[in-house]
């Protein structure tokens, strides 16, 4: 720990700065918790952002980000099973074409660029939101389909909470959180532990007679701790520091078509973030620094594997924003230094990225517009210059129109470049263009509120990286071979009703996503026009919550349309309808609140898979008990 404290101290003396704290102006559904926006790059007009319903956070505190996203519109989740690898597709993007940001810092593993969303527990993170659409000019490589933002709010009082949770199949979780608020600073800590056997029964359709079998070798254990401290150094200057450590060990079960598995994966991560924000004259300044260090240990006793893959990332960013009338001008300078080691690399690989992002923003009474450009070099080589334009216009007090367009890109990961054998150091970044436009509408009628929105999107991505085997060489190698086009539309509608102490919320989402090959390698012409695998053309979500002061009930529904599992669209997974029901109540005990929630997952006991031959659990149950000290 001593060497890390030195790192923090170093950061205190580097660079001035600040984050703007204006409210996000993008269309929001009114019950969504408004998070604090502390970075200019997050105040993006024209793009949509969704956050978990606060009721869900109370009812399912140990849930992972993957657990939340499977009920979220626009998101298509692919998971190998409870606590298995879970990845996200947004608007037809691949798993690597979305980015994850913690306190504005990209968390992505530079080796594979694939965020595993089961490794991010909501309880630890405090605040989570999903932003759809390209943010590549802000966040760089990989921010094509969208971005997940993790950010803790600032506590307003001394408070604490503790919860325990019991779930079917040997799943136990517990967590604590505590916050201290002083006049010139605050401190908060969150801890979580979860363990599960995941020994659920499933119908093995790969065996004769379709017998019921019990999932084996699927246990997992997870622990994490996140601390944050903040100091108001001066009325205009604020310092924040955060440390997040986490460990996760999971057994990797065999698929239905495999005999057995003895594979085990263990991940440990240490993440540090430091920021100094403030105002100097007419400039809002921000300096942020992050350090990530992660270890991925993969072992398989049966096959004789024991491999460790490590990476570190040193991230630094300075931003300056000044305002002149309705115009705002910003400058952003980012640098990142990555190192990675793996038994599959010839040596410890390194990469240095430097980006300059000038921007202009117009804040009119009815119109907000933002124009920005990202110029980035990677190890001295210029990558595609990435401009973006975003705008919103308030047509009247009910209607809003939005527009966004940008260039997009994704750098090849270290595995793509350096994996031995097969790595291709000559790979080009995936790059393309993206545009979207939509409208939002909201109105109130007596105790009823109505919100609706919808929009269309389009993206075209060239030089798509795909690993293909070279039979003469005997190994796989990545190549820039394909061009993929995504287009579709998304709709949302919500109704809120508040009558006396009763609050009712009904929400629905629908998305149509067509993601097809436009260019393929020689000999693959039959794939042209075919939908990419695991991307449903149709998906819908719905949820309904009723709250009475001390009681609540909720229902969530998720529909995923047919998903092809072969790129010639010959094989597919069928439609999938999932339901979740929860009931809960709370009891105020002086300044404290006791919460008890019961949840039925997969209420209709659907036998289903999200990745072919990887069975998901049928109906199962969960009880959560939470105690909040000094609750508001």
């Amino acid at each position: 720990m001593k060497k890390w404290s030195g790192f923090f101290v170093l950061g205190l003396f580097v660079g001035p700065a600040v984050w703007a704290q204006t409210a996000d102006t993008s269309l929001r559904l009114p019950w969504v918790e408004v998070e604090e926006i502390r970075h200019p790059a997050e105040r993006q007009p024209g793009l949509q952002r969704q956050s978990p319903d606060s009721l869900l956070l109370r009812a399912l505190p140990a849930a992972s980000v993957a657990d939340w996203l499977q009920w979220q519109g626009s998101a298509s989740l692919r998971t190998y099973g409870p606590n298995g690898l879970a990845t996200l597709s947004l608007r037809g993007s691949s798993a690597q074409q979305n980015t994850v940001l913690w306190e504005g810092l990209p968390l992505l593993n530079p080796m594979n660029g694939t965020p595993d969303l089961n490794l991010y527990p909501m309880w630890l993170l405090g605040g989570v939101s999903l932003q759809t659409g390209s943010t590549a000019s802000d966040f760089g490589s990989g921010a094509i389909g969208g971005a997940l933002h993790f950010r803790q709010g600032i506590p307003q009082r001394h408070e604490a909470a503790v919860f325990t949770e019991i779930r079917s199949f040997g799943d136990y979780a517990g967590g604590v959180s505590a916050s201290v608020r002083a006049r010139k600073g605050w401190y908060q800590i969150r801890g979580l532990y979860r363990t599960a056997q995941n020994n659920y029964p499933y119908t093995n359709i790969a065996r004769f007679g379709n017998p019921t079998e019990q999932m084996a070798h699927a246990a997992h254990a997870q622990g994490g701790l996140l601390q944050e401290a903040g100091w108001q150094l001066h009325p205009r200057w604020r310092l924040r520091a955060a440390w997040w450590m986490q460990a996760h060990r999971r057994e990797l079960p065999a698929s239905m078509t495999e005999q057995q598995s003895t594979a085990v994966q263990a991940d440990t991560a240490h993440r540090f973030a430091l920021s100094l924000t403030g105002q100097a004259g007419r400039w809002q300044l921000a300096f942020r620094q992050g350090y990530l260090r992660e270890l991925n240990h993969f072992g398989d006793e049966r096959l004789g594997f024991d491999e460790r893959h490590r990476f570190t990332a040193l991230l630094q960013e300075i931003s300056a924003v000044t305002t002149s009338g309705r115009h705002e001008f910003s400058q952003l300078l980012q640098q990142a230094y990555y190192t990675a080691s793996s038994p599959n690399f010839n040596s410890r690989e390194r990469q240095y990225r430097l980006a300059w992002v000038p921007g202009w923003r117009y804040n009119g009474t009815k119109t907000t517009a933002r124009l920005q450009m990202r110029v980035e070099t990677v190890d001295g080589r210029l990558v595609p210059i990435t401009p973006s334009l975003q705008a919103e216009h308030q047509i009247n007090n009910k209607w809003q129109w939005r527009l966004a367009g940008s260039r997009t890109y994704r750098l090849p990961g270290f595995n793509d470049l350096y994996w031995q054998p097969g790595g291709n150091a000559n790979l080009q970044p995936e790059n393309g263009w993206q545009a979207e436009s939509g409208v939002g509408w909201k109105t109130t009628l007596r105790s009823w509120s109505f919100v609706a929105g919808g929009g269309a999107f389009w993206s075209d991505l060239s030089d798509w990286i795909i690993w293909l085997p070279n039979s003469s060489l005997g190994y796989w190698s990545p190549q820039n071979l394909r061009r993929v086009r995504s287009m579709g539309w998304e709709q949302q509608a919500a109704v809120l009703w508040a009558l006396g102490k009763v609050k009712l919320r009904l929400h629905g989402d629908y998305a149509y996503v067509s993601t097809t090959h436009r260019e393929v390698a020689t000999g693959e012409e039959s794939l042209l026009g075919k939908q990419l695998i695991y991307i449903p053309r149709h998906q819908a979500r719905a949820r309904f919550f009723v709250e009475y002061p001390s009681f609540f009930a909720g229902w969530q529904y998720s529909y995923n349309g047919l998903r092809f599992t072969s790129s010639d669209n010959r094989f597919f997974l069928p439609n999938q309808h999932l339901h979740q029901i929860m009931l809960g109540g709370s009891k105020r005990l002086g300044p404290h609140v006791l919460l008890l929630t019961g949840t039925i997952h997969n209420a209709l006991n659907l036998q289903y898979q999200q990745i072919a031959w990887r069975p998901m659990p049928g109906r199962h149950y969960q009880i959560t008990l939470q105690f909040n000290f000094n609750a508001p």
Binding site: L252, W419, I466, S471, E524, S566, S567
Partner: protein, 352 residues
Amino acid sequence: MKQHFQRFSLLALLSSSLYFTACKEEITTPPVPDPAAAYGSGIFVVNEGPFQNGTGTITFINRTNAAVQQDVFQVANNRPLGNVAQSMASYQNTGMLVVNNAGKVEFVDLKDFKSTGVIENMALPSGIVVAGNTGKAYVTEWVSFTGNGRVAVIDIASKQVLRRITVGAFPNAVAWHNNRIFVANSNQNTVVEIDVQADTILRTHTVGDRPNGLVSVGNSLFVLCSGTPSWAGTETAGALAEIVGSQVSIRNFTAVTMHPNNLTLHPNGGSLLYQLTDGVHSLLPTASGSISPGTPVIARNFYHFSADPQGLLYGTDAKDFVSNGVVLRYERNFTLKDSLSVGIAPGSIHYR
């Protein structure tokens, strides 16, 4: 070759995009079996199946009219074959399908391809060969990616493993030659010779690095060795070894960067065929000296290449490994005859 793909598949849990992780759940256009068709004679294409999470399939090609039946195992048995189908052999009316990650050998009746039994709990089985008329089959098992492999001796009638014989690292190719079984240890430079009466190792032949193919021609067993590629250590050239009795003669390829694979005997019996990066080459077994490949007879690369002893040459194209592959059929004079759609990742072919 496939062990490297296999290894990658496991590591893909850490590193892969889901782009190539797919497999079959339902068949949109189920192949309808021809009731008149029998599987007693024809071409069986063993499709490994989608990478990582899929199931293998068997495509049957009628040798006479090139009619194709897809996924004959699933159709006959109403269940998938299993993950990473590797190879097939047949004996009388019994077909044997080796499924690697599923750790099993499936037995089918070749009249209708219905399952007649299964041997499970095998340790990463790979290759299979029938030992003449002994009623036994020999299946190579990798066991692990680091230690020695073994050979399972199977009694075909009872579907029992009679014995297991420890061999070298990564036993893949296996052949029946001069009433003996020969097993290529593909991560070493040895070929093990097994006596089928006692089921014990008679001798171990030293050949070139990484033997990957065995072909019997008269009294000679030809062993194609890929050599060590640069990414796996000090690079060594490929070689062709000839085993006659206890004698081994080795011919090296002229360039250290040449790593041949897919050894097969031309149907006319007069030449050996093998593959390099530039395509398929021909070689006279009676030649001597270093091997200088020259111009390929077929200037393209295949995922698998072999010859039907009764007819044509077959090369497979696995495309992107998550869509159906094709088999390209060539006349004996190496001109392209036609191409047929098969299953996903066609990795080997059994001719019967």
